[in-house]
Amino acid sequence: MRFVDEFRNPELGRALAGEILATVETGRHYKIMEVCGGHTHSIYKYGVDDLLPANVELVHGPGCPVCVIPMGRVDDGIAIAHEPDVIFTCFGDMLRVPGANGTLLDAKAEGADVRMVYSPLDALRIARDNPDRPVVFYAIGFETTAPSTALTLKRAKAEGITNFSCMCNHVTIVPPLRALLDSPDLRLDGFIGPGHVATVVGGRPFEFIPADYGRPVVISGFEPLDLLQSVQMILRQLGDGRCEVENQYARVVPYEGNMAALKVMSEVFELRPHFEWRGLGFISQSALRLSDAYRDLDAEVRYQVPGVRVADPKACQCGEVLKGVIKPWECKVFGSACTPEHAIGTCMVSPEGACAAYYNYGRFARDREVV
């Protein structure tokens, strides 16, 4: 298929792997973080890490939108879902994320009308079809998904659909990256930048990483050859002593981003002063809420939510996994008490989560030959 097959060519993959092997310095250990959960999924689905020398380590970052939602926000959603007559809509992965009071699927089993949707537009369609019932959309996602929510809220307002509202959990990628870079227990050599977030925000928001922290960034596509080439570009920067933002995904990502998307986001959303990230704690100005102009469509204004902070289960080490401090298989409950069927932590719930990616594709600890 066009746009796909050409980026899965095994001969080109072998050639790139050979170039990477020729680029690395013997005896040096490289730690490269792939920021986006979609990259994590692709790396383990296609075995990209098996093509890398043992001294090139991929560290999995916080870019899985499901994995970073704290338990308290799940409980807030469940509380709204139990409100009388409410139709509660959300994306599929979110249904299985455990809060302190179970999951949204549990709420559905208890009688709440919880429905899976594929887009905010689907949720709006449900609101149109059920004018006598309030419909709430539980919005999650990074800057890739936020424009879709923003456009849908604009439609709702334009069409005068008053039974539609949104519980906004959209997050932004730059503040957690800065928090990670400030973390003393993390040493990284470079970043594989999130390709689809960059489609919206462009490359400039990542320029602080080379400027302030001296680490290269390569914005990457999601096919196996995209990822291999991005690793090679990072290694080349390190070898050349360069440090900049490069765009491997130029076939999709304009460096300036999508100005129309940024405009509609700025109209519909505003930054929250603080937002709690699972495993990372509270990070300033790292999430979005509805702006004053759209406050009438804000589910958190329409309904009373508990708003209680819930500590993660003690056995769960999602925080360390999200920060790349430990590998998923180093968590005490990985693959035993915590599996995709019975997840304790969010990293095991979403296929984009590092734990689920390891578990589903059998990527456990193993010895590799050191270059």
Binding site: Y118, G141, S148, S350, N360
Partner: protein, 96 residues
């Protein structure tokens, strides 16, 4: 992807969590797919799109909001996430 596209026109069973191949929720996962515009509903401001490499077939496709990429015409290829076109692929140098 086909499962997701089909379910865009057939209301999904709310009791079935997987919403993509390999139990992979492509909306949660920041995944975007290349799709080709088949027809445009100007009144609804939506475009009916199918996977870029696939032929049009009954039941395959989804309605996409093209507002962020400007006016689209049948044959245009766009990058779609959560039923929203985020980029016009041809405009940024997609391979022919």
């Amino acid at each position: 992807m086909t499962a997701r596209l089909e379910s865009a026109i057939v209301p999904p069973d709310p009791g079935v969590p997987p919403c993509g191949p390999d139990d992979h929720c492509i909306t949660c996962g920041d995944v975007a797919v290349a799709m080709r515009v088949e027809r445009v509903d100007a009144a609804a401001r939506l475009a009916w799109c199918v996977p870029a490499g696939a032929a049009a077939a009954p039941g395959v496709g989804e309605w996409v909001d093209p507002e962020l990429v400007g006016a689209v015409r049948p044959g245009d290829v766009v990058l779609v996430h959560a039923a929203t076109a985020l980029a016009r692929l041809d405009a940024v140098g997609a391979p022919a």
